[in-house]
C-alpha cells in the first residue's frame, strides 16, 4: 500500500464515529488548553493594558473603578512626546535609539563576520590565542566593564554623546562566536572550488561565503539591534542631557517625577516596544532558533 492510499483511508475510518472521537479528544485535552489560555492571558494582558492606558487621560488612568477601555479615547499624551522641545522629547530619544542601534548593529555585523571568517577558515600564528581571548571574555560579567569603560569613553570625549552607546559594544565577543559557529557548519567544497578558480580569500569571503551567510548575518543584526535598543544600565550613566538620551534612559527619567503620569509613561513604553515587537514578529523564527541553539552548545 502506498503512502497516498494510507492517507486516503484515514478520513473514512474517522467517519465511523467522528463525533465521539472529537469530543473525547477535546475532553482529554481540555486541561491542556485551559492552562495554555491562562498563560496566554498572563503574558498578553499587561501589554494590552500598556497599550490601552496610553490612550487614556491622566485622570482616567487612576480613576476607580479601573477600566480597560479608555473613557474617553484620547491621544493627548502622545502629543508632548512628539515635540522635540518638550521636557520629554520622546521622539528625539526614539531617533537617538534608532541611530545607535542601527549603527552598532552594522558595525558588529561588518567586523564580526570578517574576524570570525579568519578564525574559522585560516591558519595563522596566534589563532588559538586570539580565539581563546575572545571567547574567554564571554565569561566576564558585563558589570566589570562598567567603571573602566566609563573612564575610557571619557578619554575619547564621548560621555553624553551617542558615540558612547554605539562604539564600545562593538567589541563584544558574541558576534564573532556566533559567526564562527555558522562558518564551521558550512561545507568546505564551495570555497575549495573558488580556490581552484583562482579566487583569493577576500573574493571567496565576499562572493561565496557572505551570500551563503545571509540568514546568519540577518539574525546577528537583529540580535545586536535588540540588545542595543534595550540596553539600560550603560546609557543611564553615560548620557546626561535630556536631548541626548536613548529611549530606555529617557523612559527611566520620566518616572523620576513624584506625581507619575501613567498614560504619558505608557505612551513612551509603547513607542519603545513597537519597533522591537515588529522586528520580533518578522524575525521570530531566527531569533528563537538562535536562542534555542545556544543551550545545546552549553
Amino acid at each position: 500500500m502506498s503512502a497516498g492510499t494510507a492517507l486516503d483511508t484515514r478520513p473514512s475510518r474517522d467517519a465511523v464515529a467522528p463525533r465521539r472521537r472529537n469530543w473525547s479528544k477535546l475532553a482529554h485535552r481540555a486541561p491542556f488548553y485551559l492552562v495554555l489560555l491562562v498563560l496566554t492571558v498572563i503574558f498578553v494582558a499587561p501589554l494590552v493594558w500598556m497599550f490601552l492606558t496610553s490612550f487614556k487621560t491622566k485622570f482616567d488612568a487612576i480613576r476607580l473603578p479601573l477600566s480597560w477601555l479608555p473613557r474617553p479615547f484620547t491621544s493627548e499624551e502622545y502629543k508632548p512626546l512628539m515635540s522635540t522641545t518638550a521636557e520629554t522629547p520622546v521622539i528625539r530619544w526614539f531617533i537617538n535609539s534608532l541611530i545607535a542601534a542601527t549603527a552598532q548593529s552594522v558595525l558588529i555585523v561588518a567586523t564580526s563576520s570578517a574576524a570570525a571568517y579568519a578564525l574559522a577558515r585560516m591558519e595563522f600564528a596566534g589563532r588559538r590565542l586570539v580565539f581563546g581571548l575572545v571567547v574567554g571574555t564571554l565569561f566576564v560579567p558585563s558589570f566589570v566593564f562598567l567603571i573602566p569603560n566609563f573612564l575610557i569613553v571619557n578619554q575619547f570625549g564621548w560621555l553624553d554623546s551617542l558615540w558612547s552607546v554605539i562604539v564600545p559594544g562593538v567589541g563584544n565577543a558574541f558576534g564573532v562566536f556566533f559567526m564562527r559557529q555558522f562558518y564551521l557548519s558550512l561545507p568546505m567544497e564551495l570555497e575549495e572550488a573558488a580556490v581552484l578558480d583562482g579566487a583569493n580569500h577576500w573574493q571567496i569571503f565576499t562572493r561565496v561565503v557572505l551570500p551563503l551567510a545571509k540568514p546568519a548575518l540577518a539574525t546577528l543584526a537583529v540580535l545586536a539591534y535588540l540588545t542595543n535598543w534595550n540596553d539600560f544600565v550603560w546609557p543611564v550613566y553615560v548620557l546626561f542631557n535630556p536631548q541626548h538620551l536613548t529611549l530606555p534612559a529617557g523612559l527611566a527619567s520620566l518616572q523620576d517625577a513624584a506625581n507619575i503620569n501613567y498614560p504619558l509613561v505608557m505612551a513612551g513604553a509603547v513607542i519603545a516596544s513597537v519597533p522591537v515587537l515588529v522586528i520580533f514578529v518578522l524575525a521570530q523564527r531566527h531569533v528563537i532558533q538562535s536562542v534555542a541553539r545556544s543551550g545545546l552548545k552549553g
Binding site: F143, F145, N230
Partner: protein, 316 residues
Amino acid sequence: MTVSERIVVRRGVAVARRAGPVRRNARATPYLFMAPYLVFFGIFILLPALYGIWISLHDYDYLLPHKPWTGLHNYVQLFTPGSRDSGDFWNSMIATGIFTAASVPFLVVCPLGVALLLNRVFPGRTFFRAVFFAPYVLGVAVVGLLFRYILDPNVGLVNYYLDKLGISHDIPWTTALPWTWISLVGMTVWWTLGFNAIIYLAGLQDIPRDLYEAAELDGAGKWRTFMSVTVPGLRPVMLFVVTVTVLASANMFGQSYLVTQGGPGHSTRTAIMYIAETGLRQFRQGIAAAMSYILAIVLLIISVMNFRFFRQKERY
C-alpha cells in the same frame, strides 16, 4: 580577437592567478580580516578588563588630577566592618543574593513546565511559543515601568482585581518588604521565562525518541518517564539554564531602579546599583571597581560550584 585567443587569454589569467598563492595566503591576510574587530575588542573589552584592576588599586576620581596609588586598600576597606562602604556594599550584595536565590528556582522550574506544555503537536504551537517569548524582546525599561503601574498599590491592576475577588485591596507591592521582593521576582519571571523555555524546548527535542519508547515498553508511568528519561536527558541544558540565570540575576539592576528605587530604605538596592552609584554618580571609581571584582569572583565561585554539582550528579 578570436574565441580561441580569448580562451588562451583567460587561461593565462587563470594560470597567473593560480601561480600567485603568495597573494592568496599572504601572511597578513588573516590579521587584516580580524583587524577592525580587534581594534574594538582591544580598546573596549580587553583593555577595560585589565584597566579596572589598575583603577581598583587607586583612590580614583576621574575629575581630580591626583589619583594616589593605594594598593589593596580599597579591597581591605570593603572587608573591614564599619568602614565607609563595607556595610552598604555587603547589604547590596545580600540584596542581589536574595533576588538570585528567590528568582533562580522559579526561572528554572516554570520555564520547564512551559516547555513541556509546548513540546507536543497542536495547532498554533509556533504562535504560543512566540507569545511566551515576546516579553523578553522588550527592554527592562518598558517592563519596569509597566509593572510599576500594574503593581501600584492604589491604582494598579493587581490590587484592583485582588480587591474585586475580596482577597485584599492594599498590598504594598512596591513599597514594603517582603512584597517588593515578590514583585521584583514575579516581573522578572514574566519578562524572561520565555527565554529559558525556548532553551528547554530545544533540549527536550534533542532527547532521543527511542528512550521514551523503551520507557513505555518497560511500563513506566508518566512521572517515572519524566524522572528517568526527561530529567537526565535535560541535564546539560539545565546546567546552561542555571548558569545563565544566576548570571542574569546577579546583574539585576533595572527592575529595582525603576520599580522600587532600591527601597524601602535600601533593602532592594542591588550590588550593580551600588557599584554604579558609587563609581558613576559619586565618582569614587577606585572602590567601585574593587566592588565589581569582588562580585565577579563570588559569581565565579558560584558557577564552579554549579558545574561541580551537575558533574557529580552525572556520575550516578
